[in-house]
Amino acid sequence: MAVLNDTLGTETSQIASAMPGTDEILTIILTLVVAYLIVRIADFLLRRISERAGRYRITVTMVIPLIKIVVYVSAVYFIILTIFDPGLTELALFSGLFGAAIGFGLKDIFADIVGGIVIAFERPYQIGDKIEVSGTYGEVTDIGLRATRVVTPGDAVVSIPNYVVFQEATASQNAGKTEMLVMIDIFIDPRSDADLAMDIVKDALITSKYVYVSPSRPYTVLLQDFPFYRRVRAKGYVNDLRSEFAFSSEVTRRAWGELARQGISPPPPGHVVVDDAGD
């Protein structure tokens, strides 16, 4: 019994000695506040710079999640090593507490943080990219430690937990570039002059004010027959992915203006089935 009391007494004193005092708690809070401010200021400045960087916009914003990870990890490292200065016993205790915390419900948050680190370093997508994850499509506006924020075309802000990157396929439409491939479908009556329609759609595409064409960013116009209509599909790069829908709309509007002038009409109503396959 006396041995048991001695052991308990020793462990209690070890735990007590590991517990931070008031000064240490203040230092911890100050460290976290400074880390937060550094992240916020860096985030603010880099976003300002990126908006003026034109086609290098996404290259600049790519640094933001890295800075977040480095600053927060450094802050935690500083807190653990400088303030707690753990010995082997404290480390064992901390590991035990940490394991218990993960077991008691923090595992999702931990998975999110690990996911955030993976996203920051592996870069399956970056801030500014257009992505599709878990059925959500939109522009990545922030990659935090816990979640990625995406703004949908309908202006809804969706938070996607970072651990999703381990479980689901993520599709980045532009892979870190400012330009992005856009597919524009025009459905015409099967009796129409398909060659003329393709010429018109091609001209509408390459004369658009949003288009970007280069040897590595070519355009194509494809024709496919369906039982009750023909589909003219234009594939071209928009110069800035933020203009994706404006590009599509402008090309469609101008193409239809000319198609109508040339006597090319849409298919009879009720027969068009939209096919999103990326052929």
């Binding site: 200021i41 330009e179 001209d203 004010k209 970007y212 110069n239 193409a255």
Partner: protein
């Protein structure tokens, strides 16, 4: 006072773009021996490419059919002029053969059809931005085995060209601009932000969109004032001969040029997509009429309002109903449109 020299008038004179001139004459001489190797001369607005075209006309007056275009070509009548026994066709401002609109490539296609089957040598001159666009979208470069890209000139060439116009001596005054407070000189800016609803401000170096343009950094030559002046002019002009000439004229006061009087040109552009598109059209066509611009703009762009805003920002000049990029703004406009991927 000086006068603009006609370098092409005397073909023994060391001409502006001598190397390019040699390539063209070599192409013409080689043509006599075999199949035509068509030539495309590519240049920015105001670069002085007319010197080369005039030179060709003077060198081969009996052989040349001359076709200069001054507005968008709307019918195929120009093709009828390519007839007879003359075996060289010199076509200036070929960027007017294509219009950035649906169906706007018909004249270009008709010309390329003729060129593809002709025995004549075609020497064509294009705006660099139109050329890049047509190369990307229509592979026009495949029709021209010889592409001569007019280069930027250096300050030594500029000095020789400009000073050769004057009989009186020009006095250069090495007067440095007054040293401004480095925090107010346009290379720094104050950034305001708020944290926890409290406002803060930081003074930071300007990284993008410098108030003084791409070349707005000091970098003044520390040698004699003459070299300093021409270094500075060519830096501000981005190597463009016409722009450098304009800056020279603006800076010269009688027979004196003070280095401090050479104006650094402000460069802050913020345009919407329609304004950027119209600016691209003007840059790509060099000098374009309201009627032609209306065709390119289509019904979606309020042409008069947009042109007013472009003019008001000091980017565009109107001259007798024709719009062109203001020479002093050329470097800034190019940089901006490249950054937003409107020109390639």
């Amino acid at each position: 006072m000086g006068s603009v020299p006609d370098f092409a008038a005397d073909l023994t004179h060391p001409i502006l773009y001598e190397e390019e001139w040699d390539r063209i004459t070599a192409g013409i001489d080689a043509f006599e021996e075999g199949r035509p190797s068509h030539i495309a001369v590519i240049s920015e607005p105001f670069a002085g490419q007319d010197v080369l075209m005039k030179g060709i006309l003077r060198r081969n007056p009996e052989r040349v059919i001359h076709l200069p275009f001054f507005s968008i070509v709307k019918n195929k009548d120009f093709l009828a002029q390519i007839s007879g026994r003359r075996d060289i066709v010199v076509m200036e401002h070929c960027h007017f053969l294509a219009t950035r609109k649906i169906g706007g490539f018909a004249m270009l296609d008709a010309f390329l059809d003729l060129l593809s089957t002709s025995d004549r040598l075609f020497i064509t001159q294009w705006n660099r931005f139109t050329w890049s666009y047509l190369t990307a979208t229509r592979h026009i470069d495949t029709f021209f085995p010889v592409v001569i890209d007019i280069p930027e000139i250096n300050s030594k060439t500029l000095k020789n060209l400009i000073l050769s116009r004057y009989t009186d001596e020009i006095e250069f005054v090495a007067e440095e601009p007054p040293h401004e407070n480095s925090l107010q000189n346009g290379r720094h800016r104050e950034v305001k932000f708020s944290i926890f609803q409290k406002d803060f401000s930081l003074t930071l170096p300007r990284i993008f969109g410098s108030e003084t343009g791409r070349n707005g950094i000091s970098g003044v030559h520390q040698g004699n004032p003459e070299d300093t002046a021409f270094d500075r002019i060519i830096r501000i002009a981005d190597g463009n001969y016409g722009v450098a000439e304009r800056i020279w004229e603006r800076s010269l006061d009688g027979n004196t040029l003070r280095v401090a009087d050479i104006p650094e040109i402000p460069c802050t552009i913020n345009l919407d997509i329609n304004e950027s598109f119209l600016l691209t059209a003007i840059l790509s066509m060099e000098s374009v009429s309201m009627v032609d611009l209306a065709e390119i703009a289509g019904p979606e762009i309020h042409l008069k309002q947009t042109l007013f805003r472009l003019t008001n920002q000091g980017l565009v000049n109107e001259n007798k109903g024709y719009f062109e990029i203001k020479p002093e703004s050329l470097s800034c406009v190019k940089g901006y449109l490249r950054r937003i991927r409107m020109v390639w």
